[in-house]
Symmetry: C3
Subunit: 378 residues, 3 copies
């Protein structure tokens, strides 16, 4: 149960340098490649000739060449050439709308005609030279909503990340959750605490003392379909906490883009955006390595939780106050999923009316027609 | 098809030193831990908060703390505390009766109100200082009854364990099988034979000549639900064989506790109890290593046999005279399984009468109630 | 959907030297061994005693001894002895007709009474001392027909085997396909080309210049049930190409025996037969190593194609002119499969008439009868 008519992070540009990338997203096997004019394209990872994965092929002159028999795929999902063949009759394969922005390749996993670039999640920091970003990608066997729950309740830091960002004061500070339209915000503020190891390092990285009392904050924001951006930071106590002047604090945005692969697996794009020392590449690398280690600690727990839930599907989970962020996020998702069902029904009806036939889905997913065989003995 | 209202070996004390142990038994995911006052407890391996396995958590002051968000579980399956939460409304999880005795942790996998310590298999040697014990644990992908068959027909030693305890004389000595109530005894006696390598070592370990003619015996006893204890030994020939004076023989009890994990997998606790040189720890270690190697030889055969039987479920197996021990053991199991069905039906009726409702199972497996969310925005 | 009443390559003689071999063919678990008088036998890999795989046993005096309890199986699928047992009542297990010829063990996977040695694929080169053969075996997770398609359209060499036998001229030369009874022949001829690396080596191996213009040919012949033999070669240009005198060419036969294991996996016996320098064992080894490397390049593609097709079973594949060889081969297979259905229906009717009962299959697959237990307590 995930939204399909929405933009998900599919991959990063470095994953498609000079080669195609096969990746399943929302149940759809896709292949991503950089076509003529350097535009990124996504089509089905299924050669219309014999069904081989196009992602096993290679790039030639901005076209994707199937590695089995050389069918050459253009950016529109249309075969542009094939040795010894007339290609006009070769059916097109499904194309998925793609946008490259903010350092990511985004894909619209559902109905292409509904794809709207204006609906892309706006990320001002990603285009601001005063900010730096470092991150990574994990493949995790869990429902994407378990990861949303995880990120909207940072109480788990005390347990899962005890040696880095966890500290007892987190669970002692009750979170406050509010709903803002389709977004959910859960905030926690801690005052006069000792900074945990990760934040001590960040303070030092920012040229600040790491052994003085601090204020700490965590402001988690869920944005559909499955993004959680978390403003996190510490300030030397007595300077206004979250609102302290930049010279007294180290702060950043934890970035989490959670892309469903299947109902029970995700591509988890994690990272950190910061607006201090943005040009310090060594610092970026250090933070990235530290965050990567911390975020890997969630994997075992989430996958074990998923197995437990699959084994006992009838069990209901508790909804405590600390779970309010996830609970509210799921309510919004339920509402949007319901709306998507209606939109798709309307779309099917519109397609049927437009084509004058009942075969209303032909526009986006053409049936694979059998091409007349030119060989005489056939 | 395994009994559930009975005591099975779940683990050994060394497996829960300072940490919880997750183990599936009779299809139930359980977590074992040593609670306050050092008593061993088993509860569902499912945190009532978000379904994480409690076995990924840690021990604190005799309580099991969930490693995800810190829910603290007490020995009765009731949450005793959770940071920032009122815990009275958190539903209890299922608790499994446990006994620690004879060097093992035993669990009652079925209905808690029927658990009867008096039904524990009595093992006098395990509490007698004149006896020593060493053993191990194997995880095997087979129906527990295939292992019972294996142990109640030691003809296989000639083939599976040819280099250690097997010898042609085994299959030349016809076994005799008798039923004693719910137990089955299959015995084999061989006279004037050469001791095989394992027993030569045992004779030497007991200070006896290893190259003289011997009498050898194997007396396999099946006790429900799935225990096979085998009196085995050799005596210098001419001194009475099984009944020979201790100075002429090396004998011991092969101990096999077979605990179903699922319908087609087991936890196999194997070991050997001996009453010679009981304080010789080096000898215990030597025997344990030798037995571990020998018993590992059964794994491949049993798992391959299981795969064959699953692939051809309609095939019936032969029941030769050598199979009588297993055949009779299965007859007893079938009878006890039938009795358990009746007992559980009576129990459900009694529960319904007691509660005055149809929801008769509430006593042992409480439905997970949704705890009121205290957070206002919910 | 594979033929069963036909001869498939099961294994090579070296696989059953001094030991049995377990192998699943056409869904049937079989065990192959060399019985008394060195004749090869195949029976079910299922001991009639307790269902253990007989292939885990060992050979003794030309009989196969079960590794679990010593049941000794004779070449007819009848137990010939078992320690301490009367074996007359032990039911026979299914036997599969076997032929050893041409350096292979062939098995008839279907109804034994229809097995006809005259239907064995005739391979003159395999018995001609002027020819040498080297080959190997790969286990591949794909429908056997995907491998037939692969071999009947060598266009893929340009892509899958670009560094060894592929060259652009292959796809520029349109193939011609013709049907000859139950066989299909697809041929390609290229003139005045540069020999690719594999063929340069073969020219050198044959004492010929490797840097002169050549003619090249590929004549693929499909023979049911799943054999593709390919005449391949190069000749110095201007000497008649395929028909050139032996002193001007290097040619050979690529041998492909594709034996279904299951609906989606195969045992792929590949090799090369050549009639130049047939006694040069070092050359045979060199060719075998080179071919093995090249043919391993197909595995990833075929297995990925299979996964794609299983994920989208409703998708139809294109049938271009280059696919005509596979398309025609599948048509023949469809016709033969239909004929086999009718033959088997007739056989069942004949069996029923012969036995005077409805249990018409008893002749080839005896029901496993429960042998009376001789042990009194049973």
């Amino acid at each position: 149960m995930y939204l399909k008519n929405t933009w998900y992070v599919a991959c990063t540009p470095d994953e498609i340098v000079g080669k195609p990338l096969g990746r399943r997203i929302c149940g759809e096997a896709m292949v991503f490649f950089r076509g003529p004019d350097d535009q990124v394209t996504a089509v089905e990872d299924f050669c219309p000739h014999r069904g081989a994965p196009l992602s096993l092929g290679f790039m030639r002159d901005g076209h994707l060449v199937c590695g089995y028999h050389g069918l050459t795929m253009g950016p529109e999902g249309k075969c542009v050439s094939m040795p010894g063949q007339r290609v006009a009759g070769i059916p097109a394969i499904r194309r998925f709308p793609v946008i490259e922005r903010y350092g990511f390749i985004w894909v619209w996993a559902g109905d292409a005609e509904l794809a709207d670039p204006a609906k892309l999640h706006h990320l001002p920091w990603a285009e601001d030279p005063q900010w730096a970003y470092g991150g990574g990608l994990y493949h995790i066997q869990c429902d994407y909503r378990l990861m949303i729950d995880n990120l909207m309740d940072l109480t788990h830091e005390t347990y899962v990340h005890a040696s880095s960002i966890g500290q007892p004061e987190i669970e002692e500070a009750a979170p406050a959750t509010r709903v803002e339209g389709d977004e959910v915000v859960t905030s926690r503020f801690m005052e006069n605490i000792k900074a945990p190891p990760f934040w001590q390092a960040a303070l030092r990285g920012n040229g600040l003392a790491d052994d003085v009392p601090c204020d700490r904050w965590q402001i988690c924001r869920f944005t559909p379909p499955s993004h959680v951006l978390i403003e996190v930071g510490v300030a030397h106590a007595g300077h206004g906490g979250y609102d302290a002047d930049a010279q007294y604090k180290a702060s950043s945005i934890v970035v989490d883009f959670i892309t469903p692969e299947t109902e029970t697996s995700i591509w988890y794009f994690w990272g950190m955006a910061r607006n201090f020392k943005p040009h310090d590449a060594a610092l970026t690398a250090t933070i990235q390595a530290g965050q990567g280690k911390i975020f890997s600690e969630d994997l075992e727990m989430l996958e074990a939780q998923q197995r437990n839930l699959l084994a006992q599907p009838e069990r209901r989970l508790l909804k405590l106050n600390i779970d309010a962020g996830g609970v509210q996020s799921r309510k919004i998702l339920d509402r949007l999923l319901e709306r998507e069902v209606q939109e798709r029904a309307a779309l099917v009806a519109a397609r049927a009316a437009a084509s004058g036939t009942a075969a209303g889905t032909a526009a986006t997913r053409p049936a694979t027609v059998i091409h007349p065989v030119t060989q005489g003995s056939h």
